[in-house]
């Protein structure tokens, strides 16, 4: 290798070895996705008689049309709509309640502030999976089964976003709030005119993370939606497998898998910078 030169910069063979290594990694990453895509473009008989082809077939439109329009238990288009409503609801809802409470914690002194702060701090620790049974009972008692509220609200109940906004608000110079007060702005006016526009990037970054979090939920929708018309796409895929020994409708299932990853992939790729920033922020 050109390594023997002792230089840090790579040229020649070493350079190409680096690319080769990365390409092998990419193949490992993309092979499952590629295979799913191929399976979504061929006929059922082509799949059930292994080995299946490794290049796309000509059934793309018919498989995807079948998935979107009729699916197996429910049309995938409907499930995607449910997922979209759930993901948007979680992202938007969580951002709104977090912005408001972070604003209150940072810019007001009110009785119980410390207590409130510690209460939401506690929620940082517990994923929904841990308290799944009682949470399910609460949702059921409220009649939230098979409803969008049931899909959304229990997943809003964590304070990660509140913490992020609190951290950000703390970095906003005190003088800005003072200047706004001198200019005659009340608290909500300051929030709306100054704090909110200044938080735009943070909000966008968090939106990306929360949208994917919401879209990719599995266990909660599995419990809360029994009516196929309320299924989300991510949990609906598993429902497409037949029970017993029947053969699964692989082309439609794989088309659905591809459809399930398209929205979050688009969000991640198109907002890559914001996404990485949101990721790093939310883990600090």
């Amino acid at each position: 290798m050109s390594e023997s030169s002792g230089m840090v910069e790579k040229r020649g063979l070493g350079h190409w070895m680096t690319h080769l290594g990365l390409i092998i990694g990419l193949l490992f990453i993309f092979f499952p996705i590629w295979l799913a895509f191929v399976a979504s473009t061929v006929t059922q008989p082509e799949i059930v008689k292994p080995p299946m082809p490794l290049l796309p077939g000509d059934q793309f439109f018919s498989n995807y049309r079948k998935a979107l329009v009729s699916g197996v238990n429910a049309p995938v288009a409907m499930m995607m709509m449910n997922s979209m409503i759930m993901a948007m609801g979680i992202a938007v809802g969580k951002i709104i309640i977090s912005l408001l409470s972070a604003f209150a914690i940072v810019y007001f002194k009110f009785p119980g502030r410390r207590l409130f702060f510690w209460l939401i701090f506690l929620t940082l620790m517990l994923p929904v999976e841990v308290r799944i049974v009682p949470t399910y009972q609460v949702a059921a008692n409220f009649g939230l089964l098979n409803s969008y509220s049931g899909l959304i609200f229990p997943l809003i109940a964590s304070a990660t976003a509140t913490f992020l906004f609190r951290q950000f608000f703390m970095t906003v110079p005190d003088e800005l709030a003072e200047a706004a007060r001198v200019d005659g702005a009340g608290p909500m006016r300051f929030f709306w005119d100054i704090l909110l526009p200044m938080s735009r990037t943070n909000i966008a970054a968090l939106f990306v993370i929360l949208f994917i979090y919401g879209w990719n939920q599995y266990l909660w929708p599995l419990l809360i939606t029994t009516d196929p018309s309320m299924n989300t796409i991510v949990m609906g895929i598993k429902q497409m497998f037949p029970s017993g020994d029947d053969t699964a409708d692989w082309p439609v299932i794989m088309a659905t898998s591809i459809l399930a990853m398209i929205p979050p992939v688009i969000v991640v790729i198109s907002m890559q910078k914001l996404f990485i920033r949101g990721l790093v922020d939310s883990e600090k």
Partner: protein, 293 residues
């Protein structure tokens, strides 16, 4: 840290925190409290009343060989997922960091799996290794290896580990790459001038400087393997064969919803709660240390 400026008012701030307070109380504190409460009871066989048993549920759990086995399964699973996904991610990040140009393109491609839900990842890998139609299992068969994760517990474990690790590579890759790029170029150049080859440089300089990132990812990945891999397991193995892939979170679900054993499920939730607590403390201790680093 406190703000110098605070606005006056009592009702406005209370109104502002109200939505979060309600949602958190109803869907977080109440259920968490319920979990603790229910863990002290067992329902009678007809589900009509609850009988107080104190710590009976816990005693039963720890004397239950399936539950103890689930602990071991969880430990094996999370260690393997963490090691595999971090190993692959580090390998890719080191390579991408060596590129002066074009690492952005690889990064864009490598973050795809982050967007793929664990449950969907499960379906993709299940499809490849399906005993009837799977491409990989078919080729393995041609090579004389009879793949059957439906019957073989080790193969089932291997499959959920790979599927879970696969979905986590993007995340680890991004943090490793950021960590590597934060190492000042001059330090590495100085080592190169001192005559250190790539591997020597990596071992003696890059790896130690990267250790804060590595520790951080270690904790985060264990948490991920514990709690966020439910979708992978449910789609691929449903905990089988013979509970070989039933990790703790999966058992909370299967005992609580499939077997309707609420007391036991609640006790398991409480134990998980304690585990998360410990992991969180570890993480905070570590972050504290990182501040001084």
């Amino acid at each position: 840290m406190e703000k110098r400026v605070t606005f006056k008012g009592l009702w406005l701030p209370l109104l502002l925190v109200f939505p979060q307070l309600v949602v958190t109380a109803v869907f977080f504190f109440y259920p968490a409290g319920q979990a603790v409460w229910q863990s002290l009871f067992i329902p009678d066989p007809f589900g009509l009343s609850m009988k107080f048993v104190g710590l009976g549920n816990f005693e039963y759990l720890f004397s239950n060989s399936y539950y103890r086995a689930s602990f071991v399964t969880t430990a094996v699973f999370s260690i393997l997922v963490t090691v595999v996904s971090m190993g692959v991610a580090l390998y890719l990040a080191v390579l991408a960091d060596r590129l002066i140009k074009g690492s952005g393109v690889y990064r864009t491609l490598l973050i795809w799996p982050y967007a793929v839900a664990p449950a969907v990842a499960g379906v993709l890998w299940l499809f490849m290794f399906n005993t009837r139609v799977g491409v990989v299992s078919w080729y393995l068969g041609q090579l004389g290896y009879d793949w059957n994760h439906v019957l073989n517990g080790d193969e089932a474990m291997g499959l959920i580990v790979v599927a879970s690790a696969w979905g986590r590579i993007s995340y680890n890759f991004l943090f490793f790459l950021a960590g590597l790029q934060a190492i000042p170029r001059s330090v590495i150049e100085a080592a190169a001038i001192d005559g250190a080859r790539f591997w020597t440089r990596f071992r003696t300089i890059v790896w130690p400087l990267l250790s804060p990132t590595t520790f951080f990812l270690l904790v985060v990945n264990i948490v991920y393997a514990f709690f966020e891999t439910f979708g992978v397991i449910h789609t691929i193995t449903s905990g089988g064969p013979q509970q070989a892939t039933t990790i703790l979170v999966y058992k909370v679900f299967s005992d609580g919803f499939v077997s309707q054993d609420l007391g036991s499920s609640a006790a398991q939730s409480v134990i998980l709660l304690a585990i998360v607590g410990v992991l969180t403390i570890v993480q905070f201790k570590f972050i504290e240390r990182r501040v001084h680093y």
